[in-house]
Amino acid sequence: MGDFVVWVVWVVAAFACLGSGAAVISFTNPFFSALALIGNLGALAVLFLLLSAEFVAAAQVLVYAGAVMVMFLFVIAYLGRRADAPWKGGPSWPALGATAAAGALLVEIVVVVGQTASGRLSDEADISRAFGDPVGIGRLFLTDHLLAFEITSIVLLAAAVGGVVLGSDVKRREELEA
């Protein structure tokens, strides 16, 4: 029973992930693309939950699906024209061909992975109750992955400072020209 529910949730989440991912790049209206990306991140969070990584799932929803995507929507809604339909016109022949080719590749990958790794994938990993909890992840961040963690924070800081500098430069030039 439990296995069956997990299986159903996995299939639904995995296909939601693929479907929303395809929707992100196929919608012509950027607002709908952004909404599809939110759906994609949400489906990913469900997959994280199935891997008993509750903290990562919640952080994924909170940071990416929540805070980051709100910014995307904010900018798109500001720049966007009136509310158009998600699609304009039908798909072109090259687009259909590319989709069919990608589908064939997916089938190939599934078959090959299934043939070579089917034995190994059925082994259940032995995880403790503390697996994936905030304490364990925090410890990993501050020991094994300390360098990557700190470098990421510097990159983010540089991006924030860069944004402020670029923004203020535009403003100064506008003042000079006025």
Binding site: F31, L35, I38, E54, F55, A58, A59, V61, L62, A65, G66, A67, V70, M71, L73, F74, A77, Y78, G80, R82, A83, A85, D133, P134
Partner: protein, 328 residues
Amino acid sequence: MNEPWWIDVIKAAVIVNLLLGLFAYATLLERKLIGRMQLRYGPNRTGPFGLLQPIADLVKLIRKEHFAPATAVDALYISAPAVSAATALAAFAVIPFGEGWHVGGYDISGQIVDVPISLLLIFALGSLGIYGFIVGGWASDSKYSLLGAMRTCAQLVSYEVALAISVLGVIIMAGSLSLTEIVEQQSQSVWYAIPQVIGLAVFFIAGIAETNRPPFDLPEAETELVAGYQTEYSGMRFGLFSMAEYINMIVLSSLAVTLFFGGWLGPWAPLGPLWFFLKLLAFICVFIWLRATLPRLRYDQLMDFGWKVLLPVATINALVTAALVIAL
């Protein structure tokens, strides 16, 4: 022993209905209290003391025509209020309102589901609830709605940061993200409202802004934006937005009670849920009191206050708490 699934279902049904009832009567309480504060009576014609007013409102909203702009994006326009209301209701699932009971061989916990990261889950659901407001405002294809949605977006994102950092102090002191454990920690020491008084102040102010309540109700400032993101909504769709706002207020008050005022703990007598409810009611009354007292902020004041006052104060509070916890 764990709870069987049917107890969870019963608990969820009871809690959702209690919450909806509380929402309905919070609207009445608000109108009554504000009426009294403004030397009026408030609604007093429907039933004794106007007690049937929420039911009359509900019947009115349900029977009203669902009017929508011709250019609205239907699917998004219709689903947006539902998203807001659903995420608001879902957030209450992890709030502990009692210590748990032992009935007929079953252990029944004091919340619908107990997850170890419940605090994070509430914030995650809150950040998803914002989409209802933004998408609804955008899909209405009206300039007032869009401006209201933009304001909601900017305000909620700004104050979410301060809100999340203000609870860091409590998390550090309790050493857990589980709300049940945070309450249990408070039963062994003092309520965190005393050592974390700065965190509480920031949490409460940022919380008012997160729920779009006056004096932070700029997203629906009626003097500037008609009604903000909900301008083009009528009937029960408007009702769902309004419900989301009140339920968010109730969830936030419950969170404040749980994090800073000992949740279900009382000064005497182990009455559990009753203490929780009384504290919750007190918080809701303060929300209403503020609405009757304070004028709305200007937009630049709002942004300045969020980023230049609340955020630094919350950060310093978290840093000092962390240093003290390590040092002592």
